[in-house]
C-alpha cells in the first residue's frame, strides 16, 4: 500500500486528493493535511463581503466528505518536510501540528510515498506596515480572502452605509495593499459589488469609491493585460476596464505600492517615484501572498529549505528559474508536470508552486521599489493543475517510477474570470472574461500572445447567470455529490 499525502484542502489540494482517492481505490491511502475544518468556495466570499451570502453558504465541513471518499483527514498545518527521512529511518515524512480534532498543538510525523504541496498562500499582511502582523489582518482595513474576513468586511461596510444614509460623506478604498500583490480580480469584483449595493441602498451619492492597485494600468489583472474580442473589435483589457470604471464613477490610482497603512489613511509610492496619501473610511486591501513557511531537512537534519523552496517560500518545480530579462521570457519557462526537480516523489499544485517569473511586464518605481502584480494561479488553473498532478501520482503508484507524467502548463491553459456585481438573478451584472492561454505565448500567437477567438469579455446578465451557476456547481462538485467527476475544473 502506498500513501499519498496532500498538504492543503483548497481548490488544488481538494481536487488532487478527491481524484486520487477515486482512482487509487482502497488499495492505497490518501491523507489530507489542512488546518481548516471547512472547505471554502473563495470566489463567493465577495458576496459574503457585501452581505448577499452567509458564511454557511460558501463553506462546508470537510470531515464527512473525506470520510465518504475514504480519505484520511488530519486537521493540522504542515511544519516541515523530511524528503530523505531521518537518522535510522529512510521513509520520507512531513511533520504536522494539529489545529483541531481534539489534538490542537500536538505534533505528528506522517510518512509518505508521494507528497503534493497544495498549501495555497500565506496571506502576508505583515509585508505592509499597518496592514497586519504576519498572516493576521490588522484593524485598519478589511479583507475578503477568507469567509471570516468577508463576514467582518460586511459588518464594517454596513456601518459605512448607515453613515451615508444619514447624509455623511464616506470614502471607500479598495485594491491591493502592497506593490507585489496578486488577486486583483477579487478586489475588482468587490469594488463593483460595493458600488452596486450602494446604488441599491440609495447611498451612492454620499460615497466616494476609489481603486488603488499595483497594476501599471487598469485591466492588467496580473496577466500583463489581455486583448479580447468585444463588440466585433479586438481591444485591450485596459479600454474594457477603464470604460467600466468611468461608467460606474469609480476613480482609480494605478502603479501604486501601498507602503504604510494607518487608521483612515494609506501612504503609497507610484511608479514615477512620487508619493501620496489617500484617506478612507473603509478600505479592503488584498495582502501580498508568500509561501506558508514550510521548512525542509535532509537525512542528517540539515536545513535544505533553499533547495526545495524558492526564496518566496513557494515550492520549486519543473520550471525554468534562470533569471532572464523580460524580452527573453517564453511560454516554455512555465512548468508542465509540477514535479520537484530534487525529489521526484514531491509535487506542488495551485498557488504553492513557484512560478518562473511574473507574467506582467516587470516595473520598478524611480526609487527602485518593485511595483508589479505577481501571477494569478487561483481558480481554474489550480483545479486543472491539481487534477493533472493527481493523475501523475496515481500513474506512478500503479505503473511504477517510469510512468508517464501528465502535463498542465499555464501557457496552454485558459481561465474564466466572472466578476459579478449584485446577487439577484435579474438585477445583477457581470463582467465575464475568458483568457486563453493564461501565460501569453508569443511564438504561437505573435500578435497578442493569446488566441483572440477564445479570449473575450462582455458585461451583462449572461455572465451573472454563469457566476451563479458556477457557485452551486463547484460546491456540488467539491461535496462529491453524484456525477461530480463530470463537472470540469
Amino acid at each position: 500500500m502506498a500513501r499519498l499525502v496532500v498538504l492543503g484542502g483548497g481548490v488544488a489540494g481538494h481536487t488532487t486528493a478527491t481524484f486520487a482517492a477515486k482512482w487509487l481505490g482502497k488499495e492505497h491511502e490518501v491523507v489530507v493535511v489542512t488546518p481548516n475544518a471547512k472547505w471554502n468556495w473563495i470566489p463567493s466570499n465577495i458576496w459574503v463581503g457585501v452581505g448577499e451570502m452567509s458564511k454557511e453558504e460558501v463553506t462546508f465541513d470537510l470531515a464527512p466528505v473525506y470520510e465518504k471518499a475514504g480519505i484520511t483527514f488530519k486537521q493540522a498545518k504542515a511544519v516541515s518536510i523530511n524528503p530523505e527521512g531521518k537518522e535510522g529511518a529512510d521513509k520520507p515524512f512531513v511533520t504536522i501540528e494539529y489545529t483541531g480534532q481534539g489534538k490542537a498543538g500536538e505534533s505528528e510525523e506522517v510518512t509518505y510515498d508521494y507528497i503534493v504541496n497544495a498549501t495555497g498562500p500565506k496571506l502576508n499582511f505583515g509585508a505592509t506596515p499597518g496592514l497586519g502582523e504576519g498572516s493576521q489582518i490588522g484593524e485598519n482595513t478589511v479583507s475578503v480572502c477568507t469567509a471570516d474576513h468577508a463576514v467582518h468586511a460586511n459588518q464594517e461596510l454596513r456601518k459605512i452605509f448607515e453613515k451615508a444614509a444619514k447624509g455623511e460623506k464616506q470614502k471607500i478604498l479598495v485594491g491591493t495593499g502592497h506593490g507585489m500583490c496578486t488577486c486583483q480580480g477579487a478586489a475588482f469584483e468587490y469594488i463593483f459589488n460595493i458600488e452596486h449595493e450602494a446604488r441599491k441602498a440609495g447611498v451612492r451619492d454620499n460615497l466616494e469609491i476609489k481603486w488603488i492597485s499595483n497594476e501599471s494600468f487598469l485591466g492588467d489583472f496580473g496577466m500583463g493585460g489581455l486583448h479580447m474580442k468585444v463588440g466585433g473589435y479586438v481591444v485591450s483589457s485596459r479600454i474594457f476596464t477603464e470604460s467600466l470604471f468611468a461608467e460606474r464613477g469609480v476613480e482609480y490610482i494605478t502603479g501604486a505600492h501601498v507602503s504604510k497603512v494607518e487608521k483612515g489613511k494609506v501612504d503609497y509610492e507610484l511608479l514615477d517615484g512620487s508619493t501620496g496619501e489617500e484617506p478612507f473610511d473603509f478600505a479592503m486591501l488584498i495582502p501580498p501572498f508568500a509561501g506558508v513557511g514550510l521548512k525542509a531537512y535532509n537525512k542528517a537534519g540539515e536545513d535544505i529549505t533553499d533547495t526545495v523552496f524558492a526564496p518566496n517560500g513557494f515550492m520549486k518545480v519543473d520550471a525554468d528559474y534562470t533569471p532572464k530579462p523580460y524580452e527573453e521570457w517564453k511560454a516554455s519557462d512555465w512548468p508542465r508536470k509540477y514535479q520537484n526537480p530534487t525529489y521526484s516523489n514531491m509535487f506542488a499544485a495551485g498557488i504553492a508552486f513557484a512560478p518562473p517569473h511574473i507574467i506582467s511586464k516587470p516595473m520598478k518605481s524611480a526609487n527602485g521599489t518593485p511595483i508589479n502584480p505577481t501571477p494569478p494561479r487561483t481558480g481554474m488553473p489550480s483545479g486543472i493543475i491539481g487534477k493533472a498532478v493527481a493523475h501523475s501520482v496515481c500513474d506512478l503508484i500503479q505503473n511504477g517510477a517510469n510512468a508517464h507524467l501528465h502535463e498542465a502548463s499555464m501557457a496552454e491553459m485558459g481561465a474564466a474570470c466572472v466578476a459579478s456585481a449584485g446577487k439577484g438573478w435579474m438585477d445583477g451584472q457581470a463582467a465575464a472574461m475568458t483568457v486563453y492561454p493564461v501565460v501569453p505565448d508569443y511564438e504561437k500567437y505573435p500578435g497578442t500572445g493569446r488566441d483572440t477567438d477564445y479570449t473575450f469579455g462582455e458585461i451583462g446578465l449572461a455572465g451573472h447567470w454563469i457566476k451563479h451557476i458556477l457557485h452551486y456547481l463547484f460546491i456540488y462538485k467539491a461535496k462529491l455529490k453524484p456525477g461530480w467527476t463530470l463537472i470540469p475544473e
Binding site: 486543472i384 485558459g414 451583462g460
Partner: protein, 53 residues
C-alpha cells in the same frame, strides 16, 4: 444631459474612456438577448475548458 455623458465631465480619467450609451446598457439587461449570449458564452467557455485539459 444624457446619462452616459454625466461621468465624462467628472475628471480626465473618465473623459478619455468610452461609456456605454442607452442601447448598449439596455442590451446588457435584455433577457432574450442575454439568454442568447448565455448560450454562446457557455459554449465558448466549454471549448476553453476542453482545450485546457
Amino acid at each position: 444631459m444624457k446619462q452616459e455623458e454625466v461621468n465624462f465631465a467628472l475628471n480626465d480619467q473618465f473623459n478619455q474612456s468610452m461609456i456605454p450609451g442607452r442601447f448598449a446598457r439596455a442590451m446588457r439587461t435584455c433577457k432574450i438577448w442575454q439568454f442568447i449570449r448565455f448560450m454562446i458564452l457557455n459554449i465558448k467557455m466549454i471549448i476553453v475548458v476542453r482545450k485546457s485539459h
